[in-house]
Symmetry: C2
Subunit: 434 residues, 2 copies
């Protein structure tokens, strides 16, 4: 049987350079979130299917990777034609956070500002740029209904983008309740409003005519005419939209103005922004960048999600960075994925001198130096190539002459300079970067 | 339906304190591995079942969390009574690394020193201290048969333990080939040698009599008498064991002596050390600590694993830190899981002053300060409690008096000192830790 060397379709390996770029970005985002007062939490990759399914996840629920029952339970399920799976891989970080909060809230600061970075899994059809395992970087505030939460979450995410070199991120802002009010005002029947949102969500991707046709079929021409003035006008003036729910609209304006005062001027209300998930109850937002189609992330308020876990409604608001798309931007902008090489790479002249080489490496390491050691013996040319590939600053060799003199040959791999030196001198040296 | 608020059995949540402790340890281990010249890689959580099954994984293969096929393929499999799963969660990091290397080797330095940190999953029976999702921290060298690899891997792991405060880690060292030679010498038939290793592996956990009985049944009394002198003597003198394969034994001695010269004196050859995995072909090792039953990690040489992926045998050696056990030690030793709090926590006096509070937070953040903002309005007492819980150093309040004076009230949360100050002064202040 041929065993694949590729990861499964839609999954990826991360060689050192890709891994370094990802870690660099994750560290930057973590530092920003932390500096805003968000605290890191983590949850397991695997959740009970009952947590992942049911109201809230929308289309994503169809994309759950389900985990087969084991042992007798599997045999029973198979024989009875029953449910074969009991667990699943999380498809976002919001549902796990809600479960987490329901369990741990008594021990947490109140309100709770959490950040949560990790992989999620969706059984999407694999295609270029769409992965089945991808990272999300979420910041959430649970336990406060203040619109300060939206301002905090959006500011933190914009600051993370800025830290990574992207100041030109646009924020689109809307309110799920305001959308529903506009749909009601337009005469869209209550049971059709969810489907209307799904149709409106396609405005960015499909021709306007297609969306209009779909809406007309759902709600009739009169309703669609009204919606063209409110949700679909595309105009900067939202006078008609505002009338649907003045209080909600005014809150959106407050959020965008407050962000502007804090220096974030690229925030605007966009009545046609939907965001796919059913669990949003209030303001929703999305981050976009001119160089990317689709979004760089988004989020919103989900005040009812906690009810799923049997507790009362707890107000909550969170946002997520679409990490894989952010990495596309980072790669494109040429942000160096610098793999920091070791200060020294000790080469091994031959087998008779390997103990001396090892002792040199050990001594430098004990002094806190970063030291690679060529793990073998072999042609020095191959060993120098290795030291170069590792990004080492200085290659060190103890050959027979150096061994006799109790010295070390040091070759600066950038300049090519070679010199004999003593271990003590290497210990005193300032760290050199490669 | 009642939705569980607990993670599934055997899985865990990581609240801020646990999360901080884990990140602290992972960062320390990563820094040590990197300073030894190992490069970070990552692979996906999910692998094709064909990668995870077949020779090599031993008992762990039975513990794979399998992922249900999707769509038509599932319907077909169900109707035909066929295999229901096509993917699985990785149960270790060695198999994925081998697959990774088979795919990417042409782009990697040679030999390749990799480190790989992440969760793995095993469907073990859940019990105290045994988890179904746990982290491993692996360091491997692929492409060299030199015993320098063993020395490098073991030194790196011991240095990581030391960095975290554990200098008193013992290393047990053995050689799988030497064990097989001793079994052969004792007259254990070839087809019984694997089972004999499994029996010998229980020496640490089961009464000696049980193991002896099992071995006698497998190989007869004469063989067991011989094994009592070689693999089971427990003595420091390994004269009988050495005779089974003098070259392999001498290599083990070289490894332990070389490690001793580098300052690692707690390394000893232990003929009864087996390590469970079938893919080991040469030296194996295990890390132990007096405060823990079982191991703190281990590893060995697996020169044939690459053949699984259709290529030639590539020599390889790797070790793994049992991260969850290391965390037990860290918790027990009282290493503080310090959650670094923000320098400032801005409180919100009331709704009329929230814009001013936000502007203060924004200004301090733009200057690079770490600033939490209470995300709401409410009783100041609750807000002070929040600032304390977050570990902030200084709480800042703009009340009506401060607003009128264009000033800020700063309360040092450690000393309780309060004073009026100007934003400019806060900007100039040296960061205070909580």
């Amino acid at each position: 049987m041929s065993i694949p060397v590729n990861p499964p379709s839609g999954f990826r390996d991360y060689p050192p350079e890709a891994c370094a770029r990802r870690e660099f970005a994750i560290r930057a985002i973590s530092e920003v979130y932390r500096s805003f007062g968000f605290q890191a939490i983590a949850t397991s990759a695997v959740e009970d299917l009952a947590v992942l399914t049911g109201k809230g996840g929308g289309e994503n629920e169809k994309l759950i990777f389900k985990i087969l029952k084991r042992g007798e339970k599997l045999d029973e399920a198979r024989a009875a034609g029953g449910e074969l799976a009991d667990l699943g891989l999380r498809f976002d970080l919001t549902l796990p956070l809600s479960r987490f909060y329901a369990k741990h809230q008594s021990l947490l600061p109140h309100p709770f500002k959490a950040f949560h970075i990790g992989p999620v899994w969706r059984a999407e059809r694999a295609q270029k740029g769409r992965y089945r395992e991808f990272y999300q970087c979420d910041a959430d505030i649970i336990g406060s209904e203040s619109p300060l939460c939206e301002v905090e979450v959006i500011s933190a995410i914009l600051t993370a983008f800025k830290r990574l070199g992207f100041e030109d991120v646009d924020v689109h802002l809307n309110d799920r309740g305001l959308v529903y009010a506009a749909l009601e005002q337009a005469g869209v029947p209550e049971d059709k409003r969810g489907a209307a949102c799904v149709a409106l969500d396609k405005l960015d991707k499909a021709p306007r005519e297609t969306v209009l046709a779909e809406l007309t079929e759902l709600a009739g021409k009169t309703a669609v005419d009204a919606l063209q003035k409110t949700l679909m006008s595309g105009a900067e003036n939202h006078a008609d939209y505002e009338k649907a729910d003045a209080a909600r609209y005014s809150q959106l304006r407050w959020i965008s103005q407050t962000l502007a005062q804090a220096g974030w001027s690229r925030v605007r209300v966009n009545p046609s922004l939907m965001r796919g998930l059913d669990y949003y109850t209030g303001p929703v937002f999305e981050f976009r960048h001119a160089k990317l189609s689709g979004s760089l992330g988004g989020g919103g308020r989900y005040d009812k999600l906690s009810e799923k876990f049997g507790g009362p409604a707890v107000p909550a608001c969170g946002g997520s960075i679409g990490f894989e798309r952010l990495l596309l931007l980072l790669e494109e902008s040429g942000v160096a994925a610098k793999i920091s090489g070791p200060e020294f790479c000790v080469l091994v002249f031959d087998e008779s001198l390997r103990e001396k080489s090892l002792a040199l490496a050990a001594r430098l390491r004990q002094a806190g130096k970063s030291v690679d050691l060529y793990p073998g013996t072999g042609k020095l040319k191959a060993q120098f190539k290795y030291a170069d590939a590792k990004g080492a600053a200085v290659a060190l060799i103890i050959g027979p002459d150096e061994a006799a003199a109790g010295a070390v040959k040091a070759k600066n791999l950038k300049t090519g300079d070679e010199r004999m030196t003593a271990v003590e001198e290497l210990l005193r040296s300032e760290p050199q970067s490669a």
